[in-house]
Symmetry: D3
Subunit: 239 residues, 6 copies
């Protein structure tokens, strides 16, 4: 397959995954033994739709006074260069060391990422300048907002590395899906194989929900026993 | 008193307590020496009205890989059986060990509980599938949302036991009241005796608030000294 | 300068600072070596506008059963006296020891502070009686809500002392600014000198944001290199 | 097999496991997919030897003032009854909710357990009366010591239930092994099958350590590549 | 009573309380409704004997860069003045905000306190210069050691105020008792009345421990039922 | 200066710094504005002397099930390769994400590092196999011990990167000093300049301590006022 075809396939896959709830995707990952894939602390602050794209990782370490000086933002390879390097279609995932009192991005960085057609930002720490972020409108998942910039407590340590974010390992290129329940890491090796079963799970659970509303008990229905499965298959075939 | 009368009395008491703010009820419990009755972390995610009902307890312990397998949901006496067993009028209280990255319930379980006329769910951990929970509409108090299901980090351990929830002990049958300030445990032995003084406290505080708005200082007014109490009694008698 | 002139100057300064985002003010403080000035945990619960005023400090310590009795509210110099003593134009800053399960104020105390023309309340713990607080309408920043009153877990320890609040030191008279990003302590000694550079920073960042939207990379733009600075100055002069 | 034979087999297995480091046993559990088996926080306070035995579980929930009264120790089925019920050869595992300021046992309870030939106590909270515990000499793993008794913050909730302890699930009868590295839960279903491979791992690692001391690099040695494995097998056969 | 007699009575009381385990004293406080009296985190670092004396309180708040400058130690009324003011026979109790990375005292301050005949130091944060502290030999309870001085993260805020220390309220003059189980606050109002019952409790528990060693079950023995109490009284009278 | 001379100078500097308490070095760093240099959580587990050497950094991120498989230790560039790469004279500093339930090294890795003449290991998480580590004898600072290996909760992410460790930023080549008070990062740029003033501070503090023991108050003595400084200089000259 050519590189262009690869990219198109990835774009199509991401569009498909973005339509599946992270709750469903997480269940599919767990069926494959992958439990530690949820990014804790990152809740939706900006945006209304789910997003999906490959991770572009940014890493911070604790601040140290010889590095957390205002001029550090202008050092070669500093945080602005990372923002400029984020590729279109990606999701920027920021390891802020879980720091809630130092904002790793605000409206200007978010504005730049939006211009670069980044799909959104996921961060286990704080965002800053919430009104400005709302004006920009780039989707954001973070653990609240704060006033101080990143040098208020963190040192930028680079981009494109494996990181920890909210208790989950994130490797560059892992597929990130984020919706109202939060943000999930889908290792790229399984991203392709879970789309179809996840969609099927969603169809099945819609059917289950209708049965629940009719007053059916959960035992035997969900998870489905053999009788329920047969009933569901009949229903599917009848459609 | 017959069992039916008992049930009717309890239903009436719960309806009465649901109209009293948890802030007021907590003050009344503290007057009786009961401080450790607030369920920390559980904030309102779904619903607009206060709820009140006897606790139906559900308990989780930390997940272990030989138990947190997808098929465990179908084991006899597993979580679906607990949901089926929740009695009408009760409040389901879930001890999720404070785990914020494993959702102990989503829209299907909430849908089942709604059909069973449960009044709401209170949980010291996370809910999942927030859009689905909103469609169902059953009132929910929880410590945020996440994507993974319970087996992402927890093992179901049974129902109907005394539990800890958000730092409070909850015994089956304790009265749970939940509103915008959060969720409160009212031990059943005192539930009956605090309704009247709590209602009176609310009336008094409404009168105090009016005095405050007139510019009266707090000292002597709230708490009330003898003069203020006399003034309040006169006001009450004059009504 | 006379005391009246002093007060008027402070009032004017506070009005000016209230129009500057805390994100910008924090950057200016950090330029002056002041990083530990953000009040962690206090997020906006009530209000829509930013506030600014000198701090009136209130201090709590952990509760102890011989002090956390309902009658303690009526002891001489207790919490109601503190509320009565808060001066007009001030911001009441409460060191609640970070306790999220004991509400240090509710609608009656907030109502009293509103009558006293206090600008708002900032607390690193919980508020209580959220519907009542909304009726009063005094701006509030706190770490959530709860049902229990302060004696549910805290002992009032006095007012007018230096305190810690959300990890920041707050001295009486420090300038507090609070907006959607949270609450910031501006030591009074630097409050005057940062207003102008902060306003200039805001103008510059508005210009930067426009350049970002035109597609300009961040490197060289933000922070600005010599060429960007010259371009900005030309733009400013051309206005 | 008769019940007596069962008991003897279990006793022999426990004696065997007690001679294997928990570090080695944990590696064997992880090879079988069992990671969440380490009891966090419980470090050795009393004793010098490793212990191993089936778990006898004791459960606490947060304290509530109507239950945490001194007379509660005399209620039927209270904590003293649990201590009296602990079987010889067992390890008492206490879920103290991780509370470090309420001691769930002291010298008298430990003395009773010693008389009952319990092998030791493992607790994710605090012990109390350290000098008394040293006099008794029963091995103890706990997260420090404190002065208050359990009713200082906890309510006894029963024994013989599945519990969480230090982040691990513990079921009655699970095999507990504790040594200087801490305490480990070995699910009974795998306890028998890991003894032999764990012993072999220990032998292999002793051989590896000798190679390391000779200056051999780790890559290829540990984990062993094919050449190293052959060398080790030759060495074993030559003995 | 004269002031001298008062002081002598207090000294005698402290000597008496120092001989009673904090575990026993805590039980007596709980019988009087006082649970929140244990200083969490402060474990014995230096010393071998228990200490008891009235609290001399020292308070820190979070560090802020305009205050945490090396020269601040020389400001009037700074930390050295607090050390000079600690009275003979007192226990210095330091509210370090639970900060474990900023040492509020080292060997020089401890040396000064020893010269002043202070009985010991209790701190909910870190000590520093452990070898120096050992040379000085003044008893110390703290939550570990660290290298940085207090200005590495804290600001001194004064002495002689009510403080929180390890989750307990401490008022100047409260009686502090510290032993191997940790440090306990005995409110001065009850200090006198608990000595005798605590001593009696110790005698009773010594007798209980002997019965336990003879193999007696705990139920009925501890807590004692009527028969056990009679037996104990006979035993006491027979001595 | 030649590379050999550089190395010899560094070795000599490290030997010199190892003789200065970290408490003193931290004070010198703070005088130069460097506060965030203490590695929290890492306390001495093995060894009796202080160590000093340039940092060799090792980084872990949260574990993920597709990476935390036993065979991962044999992947190219995995943890054993990092151990083999640690240079003689260095201090291995491990960012274990603060995880206390997954041991990043045990006796075999420590044995290899000892053979490589590494000076010691500093880790913000747990060590494992404490008896084995004692046999090896390489100095270790860590936040306790545990049974599980690193793959029990962590994924190895590489070596030679800037890391966070116990809340401090550590860059490869930073000078690490560790003693009984814990472990300190000395940025290489200031390592040379602080040795002499730190030694002088130690001499001065020894003189101060003698004055304290003579009964001198701290105010005026420590920090020294002009008179004290003159007295100290006289004393120094008289030696």
């Amino acid at each position: 397959m050519s590189a262009t075809e690869d990219t198109e396939a990835l774009t199509a896959l991401c569009a498909r995954l973005a339509r599946i709830p992270t709750a469903t995707l997480s269940s599919q990952l767990i069926k494959r033994g992958l439990k530690a894939t949820y990014i804790g602390g990152a809740r939706r602050l900006i945006g209304t739709d789910a997003i999906c794209g490959p991770a572009f990782t940014v890493r911070f370490i604790p601040g140290r006074e010889d590095r957390t000086v205002p001029e550090s933002y202008a050092w070669p390879g500093a945080l602005p260069a990372a923002m400029d390097a984020a590729p279109p279609g990606s999701v920027v995932v920021i390891d802020a060391n879980g720091h809630r009192g130092a904002g790793t991005f605000g409206d200007i960085f978010a504005g730049r990422l939006k211009v670069r057609q980044v799909r959104g930002i996921v961060c286990d720490g704080a965002a800053r300048d919430l009104p400005g972020l709302e004006r920009v409108g780039l989707p954001v998942w973070a653990d609240g907002t704060c006033a101080p910039p990143s040098i208020g407590g963190l040192t930028f340590a680079g981009w494109g590395d494996p990181i920890g974010c909210g208790g989950a390992a994130v490797y560059p290129g892992d597929i990130i899906v984020a919706d109202r329940d939060g943000a999930l890491v889908v290792p790229v090796a399984v991203a392709g194989e879970i789309a179809a079963p996840a969609e099927e799970q969603d169809r099945f659970e819609t059917w289950v929900q209708a049965r629940v509303e009719e007053g059916r008990p959960l035992v035997g229905l969900y998870p489905a026993d053999a009788g329920t499965l047969a009933e569901y298959r009949n229903h599917q075939e009848a459609r």
